[in-house]
């Protein structure tokens, strides 16, 4: 009887197995060579980083979301891409010379998704002393590694960034935020009703629109920085949803939004976001649609809070648009941010009212 390993069937099987094995070996050699090339001439600590993580992503020197949004969004997009591919990631902050709280919040919310999924990540600190002090004083690392509770709020050291994360609308969180913010700005508790309105609109927006057709799926992030020296409080609100442009462009073809966009002669995505913030889209919608046309007032209401001087320096970054709402300058970005980011400030030139809250 002919032995099995001498048969043609076995020969073909053996050929297949050995080809696969050779392919795997070559792939490993290629990867090792690539890592060795990247390690060539590097210091020992850098070599450890390269060998320990599949992705090494370098932050731009000017890591300011307001002044260098293009580069910061590109940097964040690379991290998000690594996360999507489930790759361990090392974030290189060593060369960062300038950080702002917007970029820090965006980085924090992006890196937290690694933590939530249990994906390995790490990073180094900036060489530049000011950037390093800012990141350390902000409580960035504590925020990244602590266990969160969305309803918790506590004020730490001056200039600390305080972060909340949740999926639902949490109105209760506004009370301590308003108390502490007004104390930083005016030295006493004051009512800033525009702050409550803005936060409600943004939390509601994330809950309703951050995912296609699913309510309350995406988290929102709120970070607050108390600059006690300059009596100014800045707010960064982020969600990693689909973004406003994509949310509306993703509507079904029969949606009246397409007729509205056409009637308003919207030129591009910048024009679209500007008309949305300024309420032109909502006005047109209430004239032309009948189904739930009473909705969609949230973003124009935030713009109204700027007009009423409750909040200042409002910026929006969503998908490929960066808008300075106060000055009316809207620019197209070449790198897309998958989500929505809002930034605003409140200082002593903003409006407030006496504190008349009766605690329940």
């Amino acid at each position: 009887m002919k032995k099995y390993f001498l048969t043609e069937k076995y020969f073909l099987h053996f050929l297949r197995v050995s080809r696969k094995s050779e392919k795997r070996r070559k792939k490993t050699v290629r990867k090792t060579k690539a890592i060795n090339r990247r390690c060539h001439g590097k210091k020992k600590e850098e070599v450890e980083i390269i060998r320990g993580y599949r992705e090494n992503i370098k932050a731009p020197e000017n890591c300011s979301l307001l002044n260098n949004s293009e580069e910061v969004i590109k940097f964040i997009s690379k991290i998000e891409e690594a996360f999507q591919k489930f790759r361990s990631t090392f974030v290189i902050l060593r060369e960062v010379k300038n950080f702002d709280y917007g970029a820090l919040t965006l980085l924090l919310s992006t890196m937290s998704s690694f933590k939530i999924k249990g994906l390995k990540f790490n990073g180094n600190q900036p060489k530049e002393i000011n950037a390093r002090v800012l990141i350390n004083d902000s409580g960035f690392f504590e925020s990244l590694y602590k266990n969160r509770n969305g309803a918790e709020y506590s004020l730490g050291s001056p200039n600390q960034i305080i972060t909340h994360m949740d999926k639902n609308v949490i109105p209760q969180v506004v009370l301590p935020i308003m108390e502490e913010s007004s104390k930083t700005i005016w030295g006493d508790k004051k009512i800033i009703s525009g702050l409550h309105s803005a936060l409600m609109e943004l939390m509601q927006n994330t809950n309703n629109h951050a995912s296609f057709g699913v309510l309350g799926e995406k988290h929102w992030w709120l970070s607050i920085n108390h600059d006690k020296q300059n009596r100014r409080v800045s707010f960064s609100f982020v969600d990693h949803g689909v973004g406003i442009v994509r949310s509306l462009k993703g509507k079904p073809k029969e949606s009246p939004w397409y007729n509205i966009a056409s009637a308003l002669k919207i030129r591009n995505d910048c024009d679209f976001i500007q008309k949305l913030m300024e309420g032109a889209l909502h006005k047109a919608a209430s004239k032309t649609t009948t189904k739930k046309s009473y909705r969609g007032k949230g973003l124009p209401n935030i713009k109204r809070m700027v007009d009423y001087k409750y909040i200042s320096n409002l910026h929006i970054i969503t998908n490929n648009v960066h808008g300075n709402v106060e000055s009316g300058e809207y620019n197209l970005l070449s790198n897309e941010f998958k989500g929505t980011f809002f930034y605003w400030e409140i200082g002593d030139s903003n409006k407030n009212k006496p504190w008349n809250i009766q605690y329940q």
Binding site: I191, R295, K297, K353, I357
Partner: protein, 106 residues
């Protein structure tokens, strides 16, 4: 006898539109406070006065769901005629609410 309610007695931090979206929603306020008070006032032939002062502020969704929602349940005309709004801290809210009621059905 005058019929009046204050939103601040419901919450100093009014919340989202719907109950499923978070605490102190417009839907909850309408169901538990506004609608019973409105029906009671109508039954006794009075107007209902709603005081918006004494809270931290409002999102548009809360107000629309509370007042626009009431107009969708009752008649727009009846709500417009039998509801008075006090908003000394944020006077623009009175016009907003009138618009929500008038356009409650799209």
């Amino acid at each position: 006898m005058e019929h009046s309610i204050s939103v601040a007695d419901f919450s100093v931090t009014p919340g989202p539109r719907l109950k499923v979206e978070g605490a102190f929603s417009g839907e909850l306020f309408r169901e538990t406070v506004l609608k019973p008070a409105f029906e009671n006032a109508i039954q006794k032939g009075n107007k209902l006065t709603v005081n918006l002062d004494g809270t931290l502020g409002y999102g548009t969704s809360f107000l629309e769901e509370a007042f626009g929602g009431l107009a969708r349940e009752k008649e727009v005309k009846s709500v417009l005629n039998n509801l008075a709004i006090i908003a000394t801290e944020e006077p623009y809210l009175v016009e907003d609410i009138k618009e929500y009621i008038a356009k409650a059905n799209g």
